[in-house]
Amino acid sequence: MKRPRVVPLLLPLASLGAGLAVLAVFFSVLGYDPVLALGAMVRGAFGSWYAFASGTLVRAIPLMLIALGFTVGLRAGVLNIGGEGQFYAGAVAAAWIGLKLGAWPGFAATTAVLAVAVVAGACWVAVPAWLRLRFGVLEVISTLLLNFVAEALVSYMVQGPLQESQHIYPQSDQLPLAARMPVFPGTRLHLGILLALSCSMIAWYVFRRTMTGFELRAVGRGPRAARVTGGLRVQRLGAMALLVSGALAGLAGGTEVSGVSYALYPNLSPGYGFTAIAVALLARQSPMGIVLSAILFGALEAGAGAMQRDAGVPAVAVYVAEAVTIIAVLLADALSSRRRDMVTA
């Protein structure tokens, strides 16, 4: 039973079309010119190489990494919706270590910064992982709640231990040059894009070609069969997936600090951790799909700024398109699985 290869792409694109159509209707109802608004959005996201690289792709990097993490978890049957918190944990750790490494050579310092961010993200999710293993606490709840703790931690850090040296603003000092990732000439696009793309490729490879990837998938799809027939340690593999998931979100926080903001702020993330869930859902668990879907959402967010500037439409309106797109994807999935059930019943 082979499905044609175009179908997996068709559905998300159709959903996106529906999302944008609803957005256009929304604009008309509110009295904005939909052509002008959407045109400004497209120009802002794709209008020039600079706009595409510095706007769309820069935003796509954290989305890609966190969405990959979410997908790794989902495939193994764990729902990590704490990407936002793990992102902040990574960002705090990256800023903290980055500020101390001014004397290191550039490559070593950035590597150390990113490595620490990865570890911090994994540690942040280690608590939910342990609670799940030991007491069966639902990771959906514990990862979500730790988001608030992470935000509070950032607030504390930028007003306490990591506050800039003049103690006026709630932010950290700027990272030394050694701890910053290089950018592509003439843009603000940093090397994190290569990291995110390689992570997608590795995830694709692991799930497609390795026994570990298959085992994670089996644990997610049929935990009882995985235990009884496959002899797998279901809980342990789930916890492992959760750690990887957190590590990727932590890495996203690290690249954001080391590649974009160069400092720690309270509102470093415009909700990347949550938008990334939408990115992952649109990509329907495919690592390569996540690359496209993250760029798309990056474009929506980048375009939203341009739209506000050029057409006077509030940028948050873009969330309407995002939400409609996701609902359309989920609905199509639910409908097609119901049809399958009826056939096999």
Binding site: T210, R224, A226, T229, G230, M342, T344
Partner: protein
């Protein structure tokens, strides 16, 4: 004593997706009659009964109640029309009492005090005594089933549909159930007994309808019928009578593959012991079949030996590799959404030849899977087809093929042919016997006593967590007595 037809199903057609489940099937249930509905798995028995009980709407066809056409849009409609269905799987809510379960099902909205009186009166009238205040979850299986029957009859049913009612019962309990069904018919009701056991149909019914591939192939009085005719009707021309077990041929000096002593295993719920002080040895080439009423500890015993459940106390020595064939094919044996190949990869794990240093060679796995499918005559759309698309029999053949692919020293199988038709059952039995012939130690349990007697070279009986070995050539009655040992009521 036969009266007017109460329920008639005429020329029923029903299609599910690509599967034509019923092609002009029908059934007539007359007052005063016990009617057996026979057929292989997938013959359409359940679909026909679902039509009769209002759960499935037929594509075309007529349903007549007392000679008048009637549309049954829901189980509620069917109940109002006097049709009571007892499902194979119990539908009582364990946390509620007997009386509450009955009230819930029959839609009685009454005060608790009145309810107890009404339930007691009902059970007495039906001559099916039950304690109205006992919680359903505490009832033994036979009483749970009695509760199902009382529920079905509570709404004054005149037609009782019993779906494989004896599967979970001990032989004596099954006889009792058939007697109750007879009594209900004699009081003017009609009983439809769905079964795949020929002797039950011959013993318990007045008339029999045999379905094959969605059509009625035989409909006549039982008198003068024998199991040969029924088998022929069910199977068509294929004659498939399973060979009885050969005498134990495993020699006494064959190496011991399984050895447990003083084994204790906790219940899966964690409350109390399911297996108490069990000792058992199995040599290479032996088939040991375990009989027991459900819940007697056989499941836990086999799972502990297979290493799926932890041993609480005692010694367990099992030669590896061991292959485990779980009873629940679609939640434990297979992952239905995954492909056949993926399920083979799952079952063989990391030692498989297609795993090299953690890397998975899907092409090699697919190739080997395709070979296994043809060697074991598993009918499927190929190695890439989802396991869910296979029929139950082919799923089980796949599981057995996969188990043998490990070149096991020991096979542990739970109810290896539950829900399979005669041909698939035969295929599974042949594979298990072949394996034993090649020196595999086989341990299985079955809720079908015939299967135990057919397959087992040694027969052991679990009763209340203890194991006793039946003497060689023990009769059904002797084994049945052992199954009930130490059991109240």
């Amino acid at each position: 004593m036969t009266g007017a037809p109460i329920l008639q199903l005429r020329d029923i057609h029903k299609r599910f997706g690509t599967v034509q489940a019923l092609t002009g099937a029908g059934l007539i249930a007359r007052a005063g009659e016990v009617h057996a509905l026979l057929g292989e798995n997938g013959a359409g028995k359940s679909t026909l009964m679902h039509v009769a009980s209002g759960m499935v709407a037929p594509d075309t066809g007529e349903i007549l109640i007392d000679g008048a056409p009637r549309r049954l849009r829901s189980p509620r409609d069917a109940r109002a029309a006097g049709i009571g269905m007892v499902h194979q799987h119990f539908t009582s809510i364990p946390a509620l009492t007997v009386a509450e379960n009955i009230a819930l099902f029959a839609g009685w909205a009454v005060r608790p005090r009145e309810l107890a009186v009404r339930v007691t009166a009902l059970a007495e009238r039906l001559n099916l005594p039950l304690d109205p205040v006992a919680r359903a979850g505490t009832l033994p299986v036979a009483l749970l089933q009695r509760l199902e029957i009382v529920k079905a009859l509570a709404a004054d049913a005149r037609v009782l549909l019993l779906d494989e009612p004896t599967g979970v019962l001990a032989p004596a309990e099954a006889d009792e159930l058939l007697a109750r069904a007879r009594a209900f018919a004699q009081s003017g009701g009609a009983v439809v007994l769905i079964t795949h056991k020929l002797d039950e149909a011959l013993r318990g019914a007045d008339r029999v309808t045999v379905l094959r591939r969605g059509r009625v192939v035989l409909e006549q009085a039982v008198v003068g019928l024998g199991s040969r005719e029924l088998t022929q009707a069910m199977l068509g021309d294929a004659t498939l009578v399973d060979e009885p077990a050969p005498a134990a041929h495993a020699s006494d000096d064959a190496p011991r593959r399984v050895h447990v002593a003083g084994l204790e295993v906790a219940r899966e719920s964690g409350l109390g012991m399911a297996v108490r002080q069990v000792s058992l040895g199995i040599r290479a080439g032996e088939i040991v079949a375990v009989a027991g009423i459900e819940g007697s500890g056989q499941r836990e015993l086999l799972r502990a030996i297979a290493g799926v459940l932890p041993v609480f106390r005692g010694t367990r020595e099992v030669t590896q590799p061991l292959a485990f064939v779980p009873e629940d094919r679609t939640t434990e044996g297979l992952i239905p959404e995954l492909s056949v190949t993926e399920n083979v990869v799952l079952g063989l794990g990391r030692p498989a030849s297609w795993v090299k240093r953690g890397r998975l060679d899907w092409k090699a796995a697919r190739q080997r899977t395709a070979e296994m499918l043809s060697e074991f005559e598993v009918r499927s759309a190929g190695p890439e087809a989802p396991a869910a698309s296979l029929s139950g029999g082919n799923q089980q053949k796949l599981i057995i093929a996969r188990a043998l692919e490990r070149a096991p020293a020991v096979i542990v199988a739970e109810n290896p042919t539950r829900g399979l038709d005669v041909q698939a059952t035969r295929a599974v039995h042949d594979r298990l016997r072949d394996a034993a012939g090649r020196g595999v130690a086989v341990l299985l349990y079955s809720s079908d006593l015939d299967e135990v007697m057919m397959l087992g070279q040694r027969i052991a009986v679990m009763a209340r967590g203890t194991l006793s070995e039946a003497p060689a050539h023990a009769s059904r009655a002797e084994i049945g007595a052992l199954m009930l040992a130490g059991r109240a009521g």
